[in-house]
């Protein structure tokens, strides 16, 4: 829309902050690594096992997770015109949890060798993807029959309740050990991703981002409301589908690879709107990308508890750090920009 150039400086600052956070994230951990070693390792003059196989993939995962969740949250908030919407309102997490619960908790019911075979890294990823895909498919089929976008929101929530009910039933029949494993998945985790897993993650993430970029024009038109958007020649059903598919690609793979990471998707779009003071998605989309990546890198650095051997659950940190920031912003500006 207007004066994109006035946002140049904030964007440059954000990119700089992102780069600093990226290096700080690699540097900090149970063993702290000096910046010089990181730099040398990145350009390939020295080999550092921790950086190449642990810290670097983790930092990339943090960027993908933070930016992807932020963007899918933004898409959902605009589509549903609801400030409480997040990436998971369509039942993506609940579907993923159902898939993972069936694998981890259900293995006790199926029993035997089958069970030990099932619980590997990829089986959890596949179960989570399949679960979220199937729930989303159900939501899409039902929602193609309704004209009202708000009804889709309710349908998504209903599917969420159904799946969490099934998870409760499964939990009731599971052993303590299995429950613990399931709860650990629920904490979310950015580490433990190999380069090949990261590659698959990155490809699907890119498809989601491309679809989001294609949706920018439609999203801006939706700011007027659906009837105005329709009168401007926007194909509502097609745009709605595009936005939902973009969200499910982003939020679906993130949940599959990193677990159900809360809060980021809801909070980052609000944080960005407060700071950039605009509703234009051409500005918001890249800004949300940067903020999401930065916040996730910071949260991960804190979760590693630098110089100690402990790692806190990332899901707890995102909310502990993020919630007060959003509350502070809202109180300070006294007005929610939406």
């Amino acid at each position: 829309m207007q004066k994109t150039s006035t946002y140049k400086i904030p964007f440059l600052v954000l990119i700089l902050v992102l780069i600093i956070c990226f290096f700080a994230n690699i540097s900090l951990g149970s063993v702290s690594i000096p910046f010089k070693t990181i730099f040398e390792s990145l350009i390939g003059t020295t080999d550092n096992y921790i950086i190449q196989n642990y810290r670097l993939p983790k930092a990339f995962t943090a960027i993908l997770v933070g930016s992807g969740l932020g963007i899918s949250g933004l898409l959902m908030q605009t589509l549903f015109r609801n400030p409480l919407a997040g990436p998971f309102v369509l039942g993506i997490t609940s579907g993923a949890s159902l898939g993972v619960a069936l694998v981890i908790l259900g293995s006790g019911i199926f029993g035997g060798i089958f069970a030990t075979l099932l619980i590997s890294k990829w089986s959890i990823v596949i179960a989570a993807s399949l679960g979220s895909f199937l729930v989303l498919l159900a939501v899409l089929i039902v929602s193609s029959r309704v004209r009202d976008t708000m009804a889709i929101l309710i349908i998504g929530l209903m599917f969420g309740s159904i799946t969490s009910a099934v998870v409760s039933v499964l939990s009731y029949f599971s052993s303590a050990e299995q429950l613990q494993q399931y709860i650990f998945w629920g904490f979310g985790s950015l580490g433990n991703l190999s380069w090949s897993e990261l590659g698959v993650f990155f490809i699907i993430y890119c498809i989601g981002i491309i679809l989001s970029i294609i949706s920018i024009k439609g999203l801006n038109t939706l700011l007027l409301g659906e009837n105005y958007a329709k009168s401007l020649g926007l194909n509502i059903k097609q745009s709605r589908l595009l936005i939902i598919i973009a969200t499910s690609f982003l939020a679906g793979t993130i949940t599959a690879f990193a677990g159900p990471i809360a809060f980021i998707g809801l909070a980052i779009p609000h944080l960005t709107r407060q700071i950039f003071n605009t509703s234009n998605h051409k500005i918001l989309l890249p800004a949300v990308f940067l903020f999401g990546a930065i916040v996730m890198l910071i949260c991960d650095s804190i979760a590693q508890l630098p110089t100690s051997d402990y790692t806190l659950p990332i899901n707890a940190i995102t909310s502990l750090i993020g919630a007060p920031v959003v509350i502070w912003l809202l109180v300070r500006k006294r007005k929610m920009i939406f």
């Binding site: 801006n220 009168s231 020649g233 509703s279 939406f338």
Partner: protein, 264 residues
């Protein structure tokens, strides 16, 4: 096509409007024959629940007609593609816009949506047309204000500017004068009259301001329980159409002043 047909922007033939459910059809109005020509200001009046909104919703393709035809620029409404229609007809609706955080300029610029590229970048021509729309509606000073800061009258002008920026032959407004004080009611309708003169567009609006419409419109569509009449305000007065508009127990139409009076 005759010479006269070239100037007709919107035409209906034996149009019948209403709602259709699985079991039955409920007809709200039938046999509607109207034709709107280029450069006319047309007021649509009628009592509450008579079907003004249903007619506008049908003409703007929000809901389907029960029977009969609607022609826009001599082409059936159903044959227009959505993109094509967006360049022919723009709307000002009664519903509030979803995001009040947009600036006036941004809101008006969204009217250029049918003409912009895939990401919605404004060309210098688009910006020129947006500025022209702001100028025509006298809101250049508000350009950088956000919509939640505007009064109802200013917001209505902004929405009209957005419709102008869409650069269509026909603009349809659904009750543009609701929530406005007496001065701004007259101001908005006068503005519509000026826009018709300045731009040669056709503007159709529905309103309850019958006396103002009589003074300003080129043509009026009067919806009563029995039929839908289209004519110039003077002819409608002499035909006595306005007397049939409302039940006669409370108010009467005064032909001399062209307004309604409460019975003593």
């Amino acid at each position: 096509m005759t010479e006269q047909n070239q100037h007709i922007i919107l035409q209906t033939e034996h149009l019948s409007i209403g709602y259709k459910s699985k079991k039955k059809e409920s007809v709200i109005a039938s046999n509607i024959n109207i034709h709107l020509e280029k450069g006319e200001l047309i007021g649509l009046v009628g009592g509450n629940g008579i079907g003004k909104s249903t007619l506008l919703r049908t003409l703007t393709n929000v809901q389907n007609s029960l029977s009969g035809e609607i022609f826009i620029n001599n082409k059936l409404l159903s044959e227009h593609t959505p993109e094509d229609l967006a360049k022919t007809m723009s709307l000002v609706l009664t519903e509030p816009i979803a995001s009040k955080n947009l600036t006036v300029f941004e809101l008006v610029a969204l009217g250029r949506h049918p003409y912009t590229n895939w990401v919605g970048n404004l060309s210098s021509e688009d910006i020129h047309i947006v500025n022209q729309a702001l100028e025509l509606t006298n809101i250049e000073a508000l350009k950088h204000k956000r919509c939640f800061e505007l009064s109802d009258g200013q917001l209505q002008k902004t929405l009209i500017a957005r419709a102008l920026a869409q650069d269509t032959d026909l603009i349809i407004l659904d009750e543009p004068t609701t929530h406005l004080d007496m001065y701004h009611k007259a101001y908005i309708l006068k503005l519509l009259q000026k826009l018709v003169k300045d731009t040669g567009k056709t503007i159709l609006f529905s309103s309850h301001e019958i006396d103002l419409a009589i003074q300003l419109c080129d043509k009026m569509i009067v919806m009563t329980k029995d039929n839908v009449v289209t004519d110039s305000p003077c002819n409608l007065i002499s035909k006595g159409t306005f007397e049939t508009l409302f039940p006669k127990d409370l108010i009467v139409f005064d032909e001399k002043t062209g307004s309604f009076r409460v019975k003593k």
